[in-house]
Amino acid sequence: MSVAEFAPSSPLESLYAEHHGWLRGWLRKKLGNAFDAADLAHDTYLRILSTGRVPQAEEARQHLTQIANGLVIDLYRRRQIESAYLDAIANLPEPLAPSEEERALVIEALVEIDTILHALPPKARAALLLCRLEGLSYREIAEQLQVSVSSVEKYIATGLLACAQAVYGPLQ
């Protein structure tokens, strides 16, 4: 990421000056609180900065809302994961309860895994989850998905490939 690409009074600056106000307002209405709205408005511009491509004036509004909307969805999903995680550890006895720092690391990993899973085709994703989380054998997965055992092996392979693709970018 390079900030130097944007000269003073750059397109990014005018994009900020013209749109930051309503974007925050739009986000506040959607999220119902000003702090999250300010955070996500900030992140929206960071996204644009990191791609290095500032949208043309006439499509700026649409572009910004599209990015912001994606961030809102990510935030909802993260909150869901956080609360599911807190539920999952709620019943642990005191000495086993993870520290604040451990929690943050686990939530981060869960969000990453969830993002990867979203990129997978449905059957590959189901097969991977059943295999690695539920510990089912291919035969048992085959029964659940009502496909042949050899299909399960192919779904797993396809899923692994798609995971790599989600993390390392599209394959050639």
Partner: protein, 329 residues
């Protein structure tokens, strides 16, 4: 930033990654033999890229290892086997309200909805050509919804509904970016070419008129198949059908006409109904009659009228939006 870009600049070939994926899936099966393990270890040692590919594919497991198993199960597990798309759209819904959920899910599946959301779309009866930033020409058939996503790594068309005819151009970008058409059944990769993709409810159809394409079903990369000019196939998320011959008449729709060669009336009517709002069908007693000729797709009333001139059929207009083709009295 993806770790691969830090560790090593050279991309790993798709072939090697596929081999690694096949090996890993074999070993995870639980019934891999000692020989399988040895052979896999030999494969990994045979070339540095093999080991790199292996590490890349292990990324899912590595991330999973950061989380206690029981926690991961509770947080990530899903009811039954929902399509991932559904969940993502369900999240999108949170802003709209859960009450409408069922109705929304149904609506979301419809072509009308897909057309309303896609960047490029055609109305029923409309045929339109667009030129993409790289010079590729795309013709959209009636009732088509298409998203165009070009970035530094690939050129992707997301086909959400309908049918497109693609005539690819040489990529002006300095590095070669693959040209791909994706739909919910899989992906078609163009290898310098003219081709057609149609999305049906349960499968997709590809026809190649020039050059070559590779078809990759969404759920099984090993089912990928290459098609040369004059070949076509249909595919769903799992597999491809056998190759079939395609005739040049298949691209006539891009010029706004239906070129029928000894075509069953039932197929003719199905084809025409794609270009016409409302209901259009034919009765069983005329379904197997054959028709040849050139019919206008942008004026389906005239096409039907022309049909009635060459075959012993009559048209029953119950309303303008409900027409049936029946045996002439």
């Amino acid at each position: 930033m993806p770790p691969s870009k830090i560790l090593s600049a050279a991309p790993i070939s798709m072939d090697v990654l596929q081999q690694a994926a096949t090996w890993m899936a074999r070993l995870w099966s639980g019934d891999a033999s000692a020989q399988d393990h040895t052979a896999c270890a030999q494969w990994r040692a045979a070339h540095p890229d093999h080991e790199r590919a292996w590490q890349q594919l292990d990324v899912f497991q590595q991330k999973l290892n950061c989380v206690p198993r029981e926690v991961a199960r509770q947080v990530l597990r899903e009811p039954a086997v929902p399509a991932n798309r559904k969940r993502r759209d369900a999240l999108r819904m949170l802003g709209v309200g859960i009450v409408a959920f069922g109705a929304f899910e149904m609506l979301r599946e419809t072509d009308v909805w897909q057309r309303a959301r896609a960047a490029q779309s055609t109305a029923i009866g409309e045929i339109r050509q667009i030129v993409l930033p790289d010079g590729t020409q795309v013709t959209l058939a009636s009732g088509t919804a298409l998203d165009v996503r070009f970035d530094s790594q690939e050129r992707v068309l997301e086909l959400r509904a309908g049918e497109i005819f693609v005539s690819t151009a040489h990529d002006p970008a300095p590095t070669r970016r693959p040209f791909r058409v994706r739909d919910r059944h899989g992906m078609v990769e163009a290898l310098g070419t003219r081709f057609d993709v149609r999305l049906n409810a349960d499968s997709s159809q590809v026809k190649v008129y020039e050059g070559m394409v590779e078809v990759r079903p969404a759920d099984d990369f090993s089912a990928a198949m290459r098609l040369a000019a004059g070949q076509g196939c249909s595919f769903d998320a799992d597999s491809c059908s056998a190759r079939v011959a395609v005739s040049e008449s298949g691209e006539s729709w891009t010029r706004g006409v239906l070129l029928a060669e000894n075509m069953r009336v039932a197929d003719f009517v199905t084809e025409l109904s794609r270009y016409r709002p409302g209901l259009l069908h034919c009765s069983a007693d005329v379904a197997d009659l054959r028709v040849s000729g050139v019919f206008p797709l942008r004026d389906t009333d005239r096409a039907l009228y022309n049909l009635s001139l060459v075959l012993p059929v009559s048209l029953v207009y119950r309303t303008r939006f409900w027409v049936s083709v029946e045996a002439a009295a």
